[in-house]
Symmetry: none
Subunit: 285 residues, 2 copies
DNA sequence: TTGCATTTTTCATATTGCGAAATACATTTT
DNA sequence: AAAATGTATTTCGCAATATGAAAAATGCAA
């Protein structure tokens, strides 16, 4: 549903784009590889399937799926449990995927800040970015409490029902926000989820005004979250820092205190990545 | 040397293995897919390369590499920076890879490795982590011998007088080690216990140099133990594997042999949990 | 033992992935 | 400006090889 795959975007590269570049969706990609990756992704989304399950659910030949799997297995990208005859994501995939984080120093720079934020607030601290219209959680530092919020890194979450998501949306320019909203149906998770665009827009206005976002049980009942945006050098909100925990410990009485810590942390990270907060100076909108 | 990838191990699956299964290394995997994954892995190991760099370094045709990359790009597994004309690991790879963690725990992954280690060495194999400045034993596979070391899971033990503890301390960064040591009095258990901080630090230096720790009757008289660290994705030593037994069977003459098995096992487990050993490359300190 | 379900291999065939070379840009050099 | 350079991207024809159907092999249950 999301627009993560911008496959048919035309102006792909800067250089070397000969003629035939207008209408018909050319098939330049490798078909077999794409099919293999489809199997890989499908397997990862719901691990522990058997070969025949995968083959039938993807309506592909068992022979093909089998060959794909053993090829990936040879590289450790998937794993096979001989006892149960089931297939899983392999350790190698984790290692490779984790290298995504190396591309920017965002996570490295965020870690001490997240840790300090967790110590100060006592609740789990999270770091996330926007990816394909969703929030992608990159990292977290967990609280010591036994009851804790848990967003394992790598989780994708809807923006409109997430603290970090709303913090990012609130500081997005009108155009991008419009494109994000367009043709998107806001899924309902709890009774508190903001599904009416008007309500969401209004809440985002408030969010920008106060400088941080609140997720009050909008995704999971009993869970609250306070988030603030992190800006890059162009003043664009590119990441968000949040603190999340059970509503019982994160009530209105502590919102003031926690939000201050979160906003401070986000500001620290903005500074650490060389960003600047243009919203401090020009009050756009 | 280690047998983590049992790719060409013959008895692969339980079911359905027809005849031709003896000598020549059959090519059952998909060649093109394997090549594509090689490109993917290579890219991930050293991101920010251009197409032509990748092609020449992998000695493959630029056309092929190009097609692989745009196919993976369409799925978000790799990303392209049009400004710099460089390729990177994509967010989707992170999402998929992170699902590896959803499956099993350290203990589950350690079990077969501990068992193999016990079989190979004939002595009890243990798994432990650091918890609150102590070593917490999570699991063990006991030897068949009647005289055996015994650490029931759940046991807490002082780090400075434990093989696993010393393996963990040896690979801890200076700051954390300093905090650990500060204001801690090293209890004496036997005449061999290292209670002088200087002696301990020196021993840890040796430990890191050789890659494994030795507990020579430092906790219990008559008991020796050889341990090696297990690393997580950040290259931090988060667990340790050890082999322990009576000094009579674990003398200096077998230290060489056993330590090799222990180090191999620890490396296997590191790989199995998606960790990386940064100490293999940069010799810190 | 006999089925049954599933994995794994074989095999013939057409699909399609492949590399060389050509082409198209962008950037730098002359 | 024009040429040279370095890179990305496409075309094209052919051979490599991925593919699916079906057969074979296996484990499990009755």
């Amino acid at each position: 549903m999301s627009d993560a795959q911008n496959t048919q975007e035309n102006p792909r590269r800067a250089r070397g784009r000969p003629r035939g570049w207008d209408d018909k969706t050319e098939q330049k990609t490798i078909k077999s590889l794409d099919r293999a990756m489809e199997i890989f992704e499908y397997l990862s989304a719901d691990q522990g399937k058997t070969l025949s399950q995968l083959a039938s659910e993807l309506s592909q030949s068992p022979a093909t799926v089998y060959r794909v799997l053993i090829t990936l297995e040879a590289r450790g990208l998937v794993e096979f449990d001989p006892e149960e005859q089931r297939w899983y994501v392999g350790a190698r995939a984790f290692v490779i995927g984790a290298r995504f984080l190396r591309r920017t120093s965002l996570v490295d720079r965020a870690r001490p800040i997240l840790r300090a934020l967790m110590e100060r607030t006592g609740e789990t601290a999270n770091l996330g970015i926007e990816k394909g219209g969703m929030v992608l959680f990159l990292n977290q530092v967990e609280t010591h409490e036994s009851i804790r919020a848990f967003f394992p890194p790598g989780t994708l979450s809807d923006m409109h029902a997430s603290g970090i998501g709303k913090a990012l949306l609130a500081f997005m320019d009108k155009d991008r926000f419009g494109r994000w909203l367009k043709g998107r149906s806001l899924e309902t998770f709890t009774a508190h989820t903001l599904v009416a665009p008007d309500a969401l827009v209004q809440e985002l206005r408030r969010t920008r005004a106060r400088g941080y976002a609140i997720d009050a049980e909008e995704k999971n009942l009993g869970m609250r979250c306070i988030a603030a945006p992190v800006f890059d050098m162009y003043g664009e909100a590119v990441a968000g820092i949040s603190v999340s925990g059970p509503a019982t410990r994160m009530g209105r009485d502590v919102t003031e205190r926690i939000s201050r810590s979160v906003v401070d942390a986000a500001r620290d990270l903005t500074r650490a990545v060389g960003g600047s907060n243009r919203h401090d100076v020009d009050g756009q909108e």
